[in-house]
């Protein structure tokens, strides 16, 4: 449909969260209205303290066909997990 409003992806930072988290998408004619709509659709139950909206077409996504090349190599590298290394008791704050 030609007159359909563009799609926006909505990110909300919750009361205690530090990062904005993707919560869903919506349609709106422009960025300001997308913020309004996000407020009305996604923060009705006091979910958020901050809203980001991004045009869905502006998001570059990884290609599902690249999944093996991108992610499989990390599977065999367990030493990248912080729990892999035993920590001496003297080290505080971990």
């Amino acid at each position: 449909m030609k007159n359909e409003w563009p799609l926006w992806e909505v990110f909300i930072r919750s009361q205690h969260g530090l990062a904005h988290r993707h919560v869903g998408s919506l349609h709106a004619p422009d960025a300001a209205m997308a913020i309004n709509n996000a407020r009305d659709v996604y923060t009705r139950r006091n979910e958020g303290t901050s809203i980001w909206v991004v045009k869905a077409v502006d998001i570059t996504a990884s290609d599902p066909d690249d999944k093996q090349a991108l992610f499989d190599p990390a599977q065999s590298k367990v030493y990248r997990h912080p729990t892999f290394f035993p920590m001496p008791d003297e080290v505080k704050g971990l």
Binding site: L26, P29, A32, M33, N36, N37, D40, V41
Partner: protein, 251 residues
């Protein structure tokens, strides 16, 4: 009992209640999911405000009335809302034009009530003014998007605005109740809001590339005194049917 204060509370309560009911008619029928949610959010905000105003009015009357009997068991002549809010929804453009004119007024009116000498009234205004601030932002934004949108959205919105425009005059027309409330420091002179209201409306309409409607000289009024258009009776018939046909019904 101070009947002027009672009437005054009913005016604010009924404006919120009737407009809430009108907006609720859109529930499930909005032009887009996002608009549907936004309108019903606004309707619920207004319903919450209506409950506060009507509860306060009932408390003052002290005759066994409560917010529910005031909402569901009064006849149209006992309602004190302005004619603007009872006007039918029409198209989405008509609903929006009505909402914009009302929000712009309501936001100014509530700000005046923040400094009311009546602490209970000031407290309601304090809660409501934040909600209405958002309603106004939203209706103003939409006026600009649709006014300055496509040729068709512009034409529809201009026609809707022209149609609803004469009803704004009543918002700024005072009577004996207003005079008494103003003198007591409880309320404000309605006419004193007009300049600020018009300045704001002009600003938004200019951005929306819409023209300020011409004054046709027709200035319908009477709602504040209980003289309504036939639209209100039909609205009340639907809103009140359950408590009237099943008195005392409970969940």
């Amino acid at each position: 009992m101070n009947t002027a204060r009672h009437d005054y509370l009913l005016r604010f309560g009924d404006n919120a209640l009737i407009l809430s009911q009108r907006l609720a008619e859109w529930c499930g029928k909005g032009p887009a999911l996002e608009e549907d949610m936004a309108l019903t959010n606004t309707a619920l905000d207004l319903l919450g405000q209506a409950r506060l105003w009507l509860s306060l009015a009932a408390e003052q009357a002290g005759d066994g009335a409560d917010e529910d009997t005031l909402a569901y068991l009064r006849d149209d002549r006992a309602f004190r809302n302005v004619l603007l809010v009872e006007q039918p929804n029409g198209s989405y453009a008509s609903t929006l034009a009505r909402q914009f004119l009302f929000d712009a007024w309501s936001s100014l009116a509530l700000r005046r009530l923040l400094v009311s000498s009546d602490a209970a009234i000031a407290a309601i205004a304090e809660k409501a003014v934040k909600e209405v601030g958002y309603h106004l932002r939203r209706s103003s934004d939409l006026m600009v998007r649709l006014g300055d949108g496509t040729e068709r959205s512009h034409a529809l919105l201009q026609a809707a605005l022209d149609q609803v425009w004469p009803y704004h005059h009543e918002l700024f027309t005072g009577d004996a109740v207003d005079t008494e409330m103003t003198a007591a420091g409880i309320g404000f002179d309605p006419a004193s809001l007009r300049d600020d209201w018009l300045a704001y409306v002009r600003e938004v309409l200019a951005e929306a590339t819409l023209s300020l409607p011409k004054d046709s000289g027709w200035r319908p009024k009477g709602g504040k005194q209980g003289l309504h258009s036939e639209h209100l009776s039909k609205l009340l018939a639907e809103m009140q049917v359950l408590p009237r046909s099943h008195p005392g019904a409970r969940w």
